[in-house]
């Protein structure tokens, strides 16, 4: 606010001093030496104005950088404590764009809107006051015409702005269509349709251009009206001061010139506020998107600091879970797994097997009820130690950009090269390592491109081996085409299982048969549980599954 007052004052000082110089030499016949003090003053005022604006904008730039960093920190923290939303189904593209693009879109607000509001909010008032003080008629002209600027912006602006925003959206969608065509170019070529599409693009682009132009025309017209208002107002002021000087002899040259310099400054600052308002609005949408995400999803509770050792025992008491949307809900589940037992979770796809596994892992938190571990709630255990003593072998482990070594010792960062190599050999990765140009130092790309699915699973095995966990979660492969990996997985899991509680999402009959407990899931509920023999007696669904399986094997 102070800066706004200061800028207003420099504008007035600048105008005053310029006028004084011209007045003195032109009408008062002063010599050059006599106006030197005023000239020096003009220099000072102009310099001060530049510096003030520079400082003010600099503050905005720094503020924007700080705020954006804060928002990124908040977004990451939010996702971190809300694993369901971070790791949830669907593309991660939207989440990345939130943390990257949406945050970037906040910039104009702080860099432009906020700064201009700080800077210009008082400038028109100060300028207007000065004009009124010197010549109330000119002041009145400005005062009467000025409200037309916001009124015009509101009346014409509201409709056209919405329309032009719609049109901008269409432009983005149009760019999307272009991307769509590029992505499908192979398909188009295979169907021999690519040539035709080029003509379509041109026709669509031009049609789009014409539609946009009609909307833009209205927007430009409103700008034209604004321009008219300010230009007419300024020329009205010029006319008024000119006439009053000559015809009525009411005004001095000094006053007239002073008013004439200030009038455009007045409208310039009004227009600046208008455009700042516009650019601030774009940021609002981004801010809404960010807050919507930050406010959604429950965040996980704080973890305790209990330490534990050895294979854990689980007790689920009326455990429920949902993804915050209506599509899927799990539970309430009551179940027990004793320390060192091997449990198999089975059921059709979408029945909640993976979700259940995530509840065992502690990554997802029960909505209601408690997941108990050795008689205490799972949240009471110290998180880092809990994860360090657990391994999760999934069907699609993620390989990170970095060296092969770092990928292998992801969960055991302190493992020596010797240990890493032993783990890799144990998981059947020696052939891959030998093929890699730099062995353990070979840099693997994002997502591990170029490494087969089986090798990724083996990498997960090596990670598990390095941890020697007492809780083992295992997502058994659904297909058996990778014979080598199949063999390795079987041997490895048997070894790791010896000293651990094991929960397997199972697809193999032998795994299921040998499990100490089977949990048969159906649409988020526990349909049946027990050992193979028991379920074969008691569960109709289980019998059906076995029948289908034997039918399949027979063919």
């Amino acid at each position: 606010m102070i800066i706004s007052v200061l800028i207003g004052l420099t504008i007035i000082a600048q105008a005053w001093l310029i006028v004084a110089v011209v007045d003195n030499v032109f009408l008062q016949g002063a010599s050059f030496q006599e106006v030197l003090p005023e000239l020096a003053g003009v220099m000072l005022a102009l310099g001060a104005r530049s510096i003030l604006q520079y400082v003010n904008n600099l503050t905005g730039i720094r503020l924007a950088a700080d705020v954006k960093q804060e928002f990124r920190t908040d977004i990451l923290r939010h996702f971190r404590s809300s694993p369901v939303r971070a790791a949830g189904e669907g593309q991660s593209g939207g989440r990345i764009s939130l943390a990257l693009d949406a945050v970037d879109e906040l910039e104009p607000y702080f860099r432009h809107y906020y700064v201009v509001m700080m800077q210009s909010s008082l400038v028109p008032l100060i300028v207007l006051g000065a004009v009124f003080y010197m010549n109330w008629v000119s002041g009145l002209i400005l005062l009467v015409t000025a409200p037309f600027v916001p009124i015009m912006m509101a009346v014409i602006g509201r409709n056209t702005e919405r329309k032009s925003e719609e049109q901008m959206e269409k432009l983005n969608r149009f760019a999307g269509t272009f991307l769509d065509l590029l992505r499908g170019l192979t398909t188009l070529r295979l169907f021999n349709q690519a040539g035709k599409q080029a003509a379509v693009i041109e026709a669509d682009s031009n049609a789009y251009r014409d539609a946009t132009m009609t909307v833009l025309k209205v927007a430009f017209l409103s700008a034209l009206m604004l321009e008219f208002i300010s230009m007419l107002s300024i020329s009205l002021v010029a006319l008024e001061v000119g006439l009053r000087m000559v015809v009525y002899d009411q005004l001095s040259f000094f006053t007239a010139f002073f008013v004439l310099i200030l009038a455009p400054e007045f409208f310039a600052s009004l227009k600046e506020m208008g455009s700042a308002f516009h650019s601030g609005r774009g940021s609002m949408g981004a801010a809404e998107r960010i807050y919507e995400e930050l406010d959604s999803g429950s965040e996980t509770a704080a973890r305790g600091d209990l330490e534990r050792k050895g294979p854990p025992a689980f007790t689920f008491r009326s455990v429920t879970f949902d993804y915050g949307e209506s599509r899927f809900a799990l539970g309430p589940l009551d179940l027990t797994v004793n320390a060192g037992e091997h449990a198999a979770v089975i059921g059709p796809s979408g029945s909640g097997k993976s979700t259940l596994l995530h509840l065992f892992s502690g990554l997802y938190e029960a909505g209601e009820g408690t997941v108990g571990v050795d008689g205490r709630a799972i949240q009471e255990y110290e998180q880092e130690q809990w994860y360090a003593d657990m391994a999760y072998v999934t069907q699609h482990p993620y390989l990170f950009a970095g060296t092969f070594r770092d990928n292998l010792r992801l969960g055991s960062p302190d493992a020596s090269d010797e240990e890493v190599e032993r783990a890799a050999a144990w998981a059947g990765l020696t052939p891959l390592m030998q093929e890699m140009p730099e062995g353990l130092d070979t840099v693997i790309g994002e997502g591990g491109r170029g490494i087969s699915g089986g090798e990724k699973q083996r990498t997960a095995l090596a990670r598990a081996y390095l941890k020697q966990p007492s809780l083992l979660l295992y997502d058994e492969p659904t297909t058996g085409l990778d014979i080598e990996t199949e063999r390795i997985l079987q041997r490895a899991m048997n070894e790791l299982s010896e000293r651990a509680t094991v929960i397997t999402v199972a697809h193999r009959l032998h795994t299921i048969r040998e499990a100490d407990r089977i949990f048969l899931m159906e649409e988020g509920a526990l349909e049946a549980q027990g050992r193979h023999e028991e379920l074969r007696q008691s569960s109709r669904n289980y019998q059906n599954m076995l029948e289908v399986q034997q039918g399949g094997a027979g063919r």
Binding site: I18, V22, V25, F26, G29, F32, V35, L39, L46, S50, Y54, I61, A65, Q69, L76, F79, P83, A86, R95, L100, E107, R183, G184, L185, T186, L188, F191, G195, A198, E202, S205, N206, T212, M213, K217, F220, L224, M231, I234, L239, G242, A256, L260, P264, P348, S361, L363, Y387, A388, Y392, Y398, L410, E446, S452, R463, G480, L481, I483, Q549, G552
Partner: protein, 572 residues
Amino acid sequence: MNVVRTLLLKEKKDIALSILFGFLAGIGAVALFANSGYLISRAAVVPPLYVLTVTIALLKLFSFTRALSRYGERLYSHRATFTMLSRVRTHFFERLIPLAPRLSQQFRSGDLLARVVGDVEAMQDYFLRVFYPPLVMVTVFLATIAFTLFFSPVTALILVAGLVVTGLLIPLWHESREKRRLPQMRAERGELSSSLSEFFAGFRDLALNNQLSRQEEEILQRSTAYEKLKQQAAEERLRSQTFSQLTSFVVTWVILAAGAAMTAAGNLEGVFLAMLVMISLTVFENTVPMAAYASYKKETTEAANRLDEVLSDDSLKLPEAAEPVQLPSGAIPLSWEGVSLQYEHAVRPALHDVWLDVEPGSKTAVVGASGSGKSTLLQLALRFSLPEKGEVKASGIPLANVQEEALWERTNAVLQEQHFFYGTVEDNLRLASATAGKSDMIRAMEQVQLAYIPLESDLQEGAANLSGGERQRLALARALLRRADLWLLDEPVSSVDPLTSREVMRDVYEAAGEATLILVSHDLQGLEEMDCIVVMDQGEIQEVGTYETLMQRRGLFHDMKQVEAQVMQGTG
């Protein structure tokens, strides 16, 4: 960049009008303020009334000129931009067509394509912010300078100096300082984007391995680095703006001082002094767009260069058939003769010394683990690339001598990445066959058991509103509408439930009739009916034979069947 300029210059009329109106708008404002300065100076010395009347009339004229010209300028410059953009899009699309299969093959994530689109759209700034602002600025200044020359050569000279500094020196200085920052900024943004993508895509593995904090730290570090560069760039631009403004202030001051000195000395008539000061205060508003000129110039030039890079990337070009040979009609036999291929940046060859004969009209299945080379086998048959060693032949003709269009015309290829366009189901089916009627389409939809989806229903981008299995069946429906002598199917029903997929595939086999068909599959069910089964492992063919012979051999295929027998059905 030259291409874009050439395409732009086709809009001669709009460009000329934009510049004309831009000039009129700029000069209109200068004239308006000059005139009003003159008016009051004149008024101060009590002139004859007609002078005042004329000046006042001019005042109105100039303010209307200014406002209307600004309107015309906006209208024509935007028209020119949009027309140019449409030309640019079409131009690049046409030049990307020949690169298609490899473009999507090598950049699966679609990042590259998104970048191409972004770069094409970036060209809209070229005309609006790079091409014509300097032209308008220079013409307005020249006219103003010529005008002031008439009253005060010294003032004209000072304006020239001001123009040189604000219009040339400051943008050049800014450009030289920005040169390195822009690529750096893009690189930092890329890094930030990829660590964010790892954070989300690998979230579970990071969380369960206690690595979230480390990744979070890394992201924030990269964000800091990126923001720092952005901040520096913004500060640089602000500095350039401030210097520009300061220069215009200094120029006004010098004109004021010189004018004052000259008036005092009697070398300049006092009535013109206010006018000259007003001119100087106004004319520099035309230099404002020049403050951002350098960054936009750099951005558009780089975008254009990147586009050129993609277009001239030889690794994306399909090899051309030097002396094209026609494929004989009828079912197309295929043979791979000692074929090896290694993709760039891959640790091992995708295919190694593959020998395989596929008889005309036969039905072949290719099975094997992920990454065993099955898809590469098909892509070579589609001539997406030529093998490094050995040859792939269709009807005995090396594919190097076959034009890809000639091959594709005869082929029904259903690849793993099938694309569907924004539009109706019918639009998407129509791609496959221009002649197919509605009844044909409905029949095809029935055959793939999608009869419950009406032809006129809308598909979102990438058919995101269909399930994976529905998308696969829609792709098959497209193939069913075309007659072909060669069917190449890459896991066409991997997301379809076993019962439905068996029924759908039966229709596909029937439609293929006498054509040669190769099916890549990870499902071992129903392979008894195939004429031949090829088992692949690590880029090599391990076994070839009928279901019976392979089972008797008790090799890899037999082992796969053993595992499959253990897999519980319906526990996906």
